[in-house]
Every structure is written in C-alpha cells, then in structure tokens.
C-alpha cells in the first residue's frame, strides 16, 4: 500500500529494546512446515537459493567426476555413449542453470542487496519467493528426467537440428526446454526484485554516486538478465513448439533456420557469462576494499567498467559461432568487440591490484580466495583473448582447449568468488566465524586440484581431443594427460568435503562473530549477526560511500515508520531522497501455490499442448488468491512523521 504522506512515529517515547521487540513481532516469519512455505523474507529466501544451488553444485560435481572417470583410460566401458551424452548435458545444464546463476546472482543478491541498501526487505518479496519455488520446480524436472533415464542428451545448449524432432525423439530435449523456462522465469523475477530494491529502497543519502560497487554490479546484472533471458526462453519455446506442435521454426526444409536458434541462444549465452562473472567481481571489489583497509581505488572507472561490460556482453555472441560459416567481415566485427571487452575487465583488475598495493593488506581467508580468483580468471581471460581471434578459434574449436578456457572463466569467475563470499558473509548469516585453518586447507586442495585438471585440458585440446566424445583410441596418446586431469578431481573433492565439514562444524561451535567481525564498511554489518527479521532497528542514512567507516556517530536515522505493520521506506532512484512509505505484503502461501500450478502447466506441456489451456485456470485461480486485496491496514495512529532524525 503506497501512502502519499509519511504518517506516524511515536517510538520516540519508547526505548529501543521495546521498539526492537515490537518490530520483531511485526516482521516475524511463520514457523513450522506451513510457515516455511509462507516465508517471504529475503534473508531466508536468499539462504534457500544458496543452499539449493550448492546442492546442485555437488550433484553437477559428481557428474563431472563421472566424466573424468570415464575418460581416465582409452576405450573405457564404464559408461556407454547414451549415458555419457546425458551425463555431460546434465553436468553443463546443472552447473549453469541450477548452480551458477541461482547462487551468484539470485542467492547472494537476494540475501545481501537489501541489507546493503539499508532496507527491511526486498522489493516484491512474494515474487521473490515465487521465483525460488519455480527454480526448484525446474531443477526437479531436470533431475527427475535424468533419474528416470529421460535426461537431456543434446548438450547444455541443445543445438538444432540435433535437438529437433527428427534427431531427438522422446522427451529428453523437451525436458531441457522446459527447465530453461522454469529457471529463466525465476531469474527474471529475482532481477525485477533486485533492480527495484536497488533503485527504490536505498537508504537516504545513498545517492547514485555513493552506491557500493556490489549494488552497481547487481543492478547491471539485473538489467542484463531482464534483456538476455527472454532470448533463450524464445529459443527454447520455439524448439518446444517445433517438437510438440509441429511448427518449423528451425527446420530448413520448411523455410526454418537453424542459425536462428544459435543466434537466439548465444544472444543469451554470452551475457550469461557476465551474469555469472560480474557477481563474482562484485564480491571481489567488496572484499579487496575491506581487507586492504582502504577505499577502493577507482570507484568511477570500476562503475564505468561494470556498465560497459554489461553492454558489450550483449554484442559478442557471434564469437561462439565463428565455425558456422559467417562472412569474414561479420566475424571481424565480433572479434573486435570480443577483444574490447578485455578493457573494462582489465580496468577492474587494475583497480583491485592498486587498492591492494596501496592498502594495508590483511590476508584473511576470504582474501585468499580472492587471490585465487584473480589468478584463475586471468588465465581464463588470456585464453579468451586467444579464442576471440577467428583463426585460433577455428583451430581449437570444439576441443578440450575451449573446455579448459570456459572452466577457467566460469570456475574462476563463480566458484572462487563464491567461496570468498561465503567465508566473508558466513558470520553475518550464522553469527559464527568459519574455521580459518579448515578454510585454508579447502583453498589449497581446491586450487591445486582445479589447476591440475583444467590446465591439463589446454594441452589435450591442443593435441586435438574433441569435446563430448565418450571414449578415445589408445593410438591418440591422450591417455596420460587424461590421467593427470582426472587426478585433480580427487583434490577438488577433498577440498569440497573439507568445506562441508567446516560449515557444519563452524555453524555449531565456531567462534561467535559479533556484528562486524571484519571491520567492513557496508551497511550489512550494521546490525546483529544473523540479522533480525526487521534487519534495521531504524532505517539508516549514509553520508559517504563507506558508511561504517565514514559516518559520524550521530549520523541521522529515519524515524516514523510504523512498527505495527510492515512498513518500508521508498526513496528516489537517483538521489535516494525519501519519497513515500510502502507496506511489505508479508508472508503468504500463494507464491508457493502459484509456483505449483505454473510448474504443473509447464510439466504438462512437455507432453501435450493441451496442458496450456488446461493448466491456465489453476494458475489464474492462484494468481487471484495472490493478488486478492486484503483490506486496509489498521488506521495509522496519530503522531509524528517519517523523517530523518
């Protein structure tokens, strides 16, 4: 409910503990199983995104281990070609759609962004909860298919004509297509929530030029998601129509175009790389500033670099298609763009290095992972520059060199910053510190294993080993390099087990963290750990880019928000001036029920087009339930106004 005028504030005559008690009562989430499904608070939903995505990281990792086990010796009969096709498709799809984006964009974003903004909850919390359930629905569909021998087997990008009706009978490709719809609708929902939170729920004083780098990056990524995801949804939707209804969008015999699919897919696919990398860069920017004990060097150049990366990321997609026979001049345009994107990425690297160089570096555990990221991503970036060149790309196209490159980019860009971020915000999420000794073991095991596996793949690629082959002849002499690559998996697995042990151990008996154990400058450290259900006792105001470092002790706060209803403050998008108050809609079962009905319609449409008209009424009913007006909030008590005090 939007109200034109700020209305009330009679908390001035009560103690802060009394206010905290009232706010806790007002903002509490329902408990029990029913309450779990009704919960719409961003910290809970963010954690769920992260835990669920981590489970899929483990599952995708098990598939990767199976791939390496299969390839450890020539002519292996551990897996047949059919199962191998499913396994590598599931590995790619799981890692990209069920782990990387949900973890790096949705999980961290949903948890951290409202806290960094100084807000009490994310904007559109029910849409946020709905997005989570839809993501889980997509994941269950994909893995349900795999466990019943209907797993997709057409690669994580499902190129036509291989994935078309002629070459992929059955429902394997349909399951992949609908998983895309699930997960992309989920990402779109979260993108809208995050962009709105950043633009309209920032604390007063946090003008555009004072936004933390992490918020800038999340805003750019949200916009990239909003513009990129529809392209792949169109691609998968048209593919589904070709397969289910008999349309010919991708059938050249009937006037269709297979290249259209590739264009649509990669128009999403390349920005996707930045949708995964930029959250990692955001985490690194935050951590480098904190552990260098100085303000980030080059705030404005970093913002320029982040926004430019978001834009240029949309114009390099054709470099994934250099081998399809496009005119040379066209390829050159995209070579130029692909090389140009090195400049903003290099700008960020430069600013991080200068910040560290000029600061007083504290080499704490999260920072170790940042250094790992800088090293690994740099190697991935350098091989990326090589692949942007058409002649090189044509030579190594579809070989393990490309596999090595994108694992350096994606694991460097996602996994290393993810662990850095988890160790950094673990105290905020749990109230306890992660064990640094176990964390250091985790780092070195994972770092050594990762480089052992993936650096070796460069050489396998240069020796001509193609991707997606389930076995190879001993005459190719790829055996020992494959043994070396597969041995790295042992280290990575050991590292992940140490991490899990650390999380379980530290969550129970780790050192108590306190509010701000790292002495960071962000607003997310201004409240207790873990955050109370209302996040901030008073909505803060800020007077600089690093609030907890710069703000004076008597920094004003916003007062006058009601404590008997879930009232939030809406501010102007450019200058963060208070504009009006809004009411958070609170817990509700309807997002979950709507996700159920939408999932049923999506799953049904894998098998019959009639699922759309049959599935629509339940969706409409649940949407009506969701949007049904609940009446006016209790009459506001007379009194003061919501102002900065």
């Amino acid at each position: 409910m939007a109200v034109a005028e700020p209305i009330i504030a009679n908390d001035q005559d009560t103690g802060e503990s009394e206010l905290a008690r009232r706010l806790a009562r007002t903002w509490r989430q329902p408990t029990g199983i029913w309450g779990w499904f009704c919960n719409t608070h961003h910290t809970d939903i963010g954690l769920r995104f992260m835990v669920t995505a981590f489970i899929f990281l483990l599952l995708g990792g098990i598939l990767a281990a199976m791939i390496r086990l299969q390839l450890i010796r020539p002519e292996s009969s551990l897996m047949g070609p059919d199962l191998y096709n499913q396994v590598f498709t599931m590995h790619g799809s799981t890692m990209i759609f069920l782990f990387a984006v949900p973890m790096m964009f949705q999980g961290f974003g949903v948890y951290i962004v409202p806290l960094m903004c100084g807000a009490r909850n994310i904007a559109f919390p029910r849409l946020n909860a709905f997005s989570y359930y839809l993501y889980v629905g997509g994941a269950l569909v994909l893995w349900g298919g795999f466990l019943t021998n209907t797993g997709p087997d057409v690669g994580w990008f499902a190129y036509v004509p291989l994935s078309g009706p002629a070459y992929s009978p059955g429902h394997r490709a349909d399951i992949w297509s609908q998983m895309i719809t699930f997960t992309e609708v989920s990402a779109l929902g979260v993108a809208i929530c995050l962009a709105t939170t950043i633009l309209r729920h920032r604390a007063p004083g946090m003008t555009l030029n004072r936004m933390p780098i992490l918020l800038w990056e999340k805003l750019v990524i949200s916009m990239a998601v909003i513009f990129a995801m529809p392209a792949v949804m169109v691609a998968s939707g048209l593919l589904l129509l070709d397969r289910l209804v008999g349309t010919h969008f991708f059938n050249p015999a009937e006037g269709g175009d297979v290249l259209l699919y590739q264009h649509l897919f990669w128009f999403f696919g390349h920005p996707e790389v930045y949708i995964i990398f930029l959250p990692g860069a955001a985490i690194v920017s935050t951590l480098v500033e904190c552990f260098s004990r100085r303000r980030i060097f080059g705030y404005t150049p970093i913002v320029v670099a982040v926004v430019a990366t978001g834009f240029i990321g949309f114009s390099v997609w054709v470099h994934h298609m250099f081998a399809v026979g496009l005119p040379q001049l066209s390829e050159s345009f995209f070579t130029a763009a692909s090389l140009m994107i090195v400049i903003p990425t290099g700008t960020q690297f430069f600013c991080w290095v200068v910040t560290i160089w000029n600061g007083r570096l504290q080499l704490r555990l999260p920072m170790l992972w940042c250094f790992g990221f800088i090293f690994v991503f740099l190697i991935g970036g350098l091989s990326g520059v090589m692949l942007a060149s058409v002649p090189v790309d044509l030579q190594v196209h579809d070989t393990y060199f490309v596999v090595a490159h994108f694992h350096y980019v994606l694991i460097g860009g996602a996994l290393f910053p993810m662990f850095a971020g988890i160790y950094f915000w673990f105290p905020k999420m749990t109230g306890r510190m992660a064990d640094p000794t176990l964390g250091t073991w985790h780092f070195w095991l994972f770092f050594i294993g990762f480089n052992l596996t993936f650096f070796t793949l460069h050489f396998l690629g240069l020796r001509g080993m193609p991707r997606r082959v389930y076995t190879y002849s001993p005459d190719m002499h790829w055996h020992w390099l494959n043994v070396l690559a597969s041995s790295g998996v042992v280290f990575m697995t050991a590292g992940l087990l140490v991490f899990l042990a650390n999380v379980i151990w530290s969550r129970r008996v780790g050192e108590i963290a306190g509010n701000n154990p790292w002495g960071d400058a962000g607003l997310e450290w201004a409240m207790s750990s873990p955050p109370p259900p209302y996040n901030f006792l008073h909505i803060p105001t800020v007077s600089g880019r690093d609030p907890l470092w710069e703000d004076p002790p008597d920094q004003p706060v916003v007062v006058g928000l009601r404590d008997d209803i879930r009232e939030t403050l809406v501010t102007q998008s450019l200058d963060a001036d208070p504009q009006h108050k809004d009411e958070d809609p609170g817990p509700s079962i309807w997002p979950f029920l709507t996700a159920l009905t939408v999932s049923a319609a999506f799953v049904g449409s894998i098998f019959t087009p009639w699922a759309v008209p049959i599935g629509a009424p339940p969706v409409i009913v649940t949407l009506i339930g969701w949007l049904w007006p609940r009446g006016q909030s209790p009459t506001p008590r007379p009194g003061g106004e919501a102002w900065v005090r």
Partner: protein
C-alpha cells in the same frame, strides 16, 4: 551556475546528461547492428561505402555524447565532487560516466572500423 541550479533538482537529470550517458552505447549498437545487417547488401550492390558511412555517423553520435557531457560538466559549480550527497554531486558523477562511456565507445567504433578497410564484405 544559475542555469544548472535551475535544471538539476533532486531526482532529475537534464537531457544533456542523459544523452551523454546513452550516446556511446546507442552509437555502438547501431554501428554493430547495421553493419552486420547491411554487409550482404553492401556486397551484392557493390556499395561498400555504406559500411564506412555507418561508421562515421555512429562515431559522430558517440562524440556528440562526449561533447554534451563535457558541456554539462563545465556548468556545475566548482564545489561539486564525485561523491557528495547533493543532486549536483550526483549529476557531476553522471557527467563523468557519460563522458567516459561516450569516449570508450567512440574508441570501440574506431576499432571496429579497421577491418572494413582491410576485408571485403564479399569474402
């Protein structure tokens, strides 16, 4: 200064600044999109100059963004800073971003124009 105070209010950005922020991206997108689309036409008709014309027009658009950003920047009071909390400071920051974007994308357009002098659209 007086004029700046008139146009920069809380929550508002003068059109010149918006143009400065958008011109670089816009110019480069148009350059890349049109060049890609018109390459075949350029080959089949022999009008290779079309690709160069697109380049020049887009370069002018990007430079105009830089120029407007610079003009707006010079109109701010000397006391504004990159990270102050007033609408002036925020606009100061936006002007810096606008100039940086326009300049960067002008460079990208120039880089993208090089192959057009070397490669034929018909290859």
């Amino acid at each position: 200064m007086e004029r700046s105070e008139h146009v920069i209010r809380a929550g508002r950005t003068p059109w010149g600044l918006w143009w400065s922020l958008a011109a670089g991206f816009l110019a480069w997108s148009i350059d890349l999109g049109l060049s890609y689309v018109l390459e075949q036409h350029s080959c089949s008709t022999g009008h290779h100059y079309v690709l160069h014309v697109i380049d020049i027009v887009c370069l002018v658009i990007a430079i105009s963004g830089f120029a407007t950003g610079l003009v707006e920047f010079k109109r701010f009071p000397g006391s504004t800073s990159e990270e102050g909390g007033s609408p002036f400071d925020r606009a100061h920051f936006q002007a810096l971003l606008g100039m940086a974007f326009s300049f960067s994308f002008a460079v990208v357009i120039v880089a993208g124009s090089v192959p057009r002098w070397i490669l034929s659209p018909c290859e």
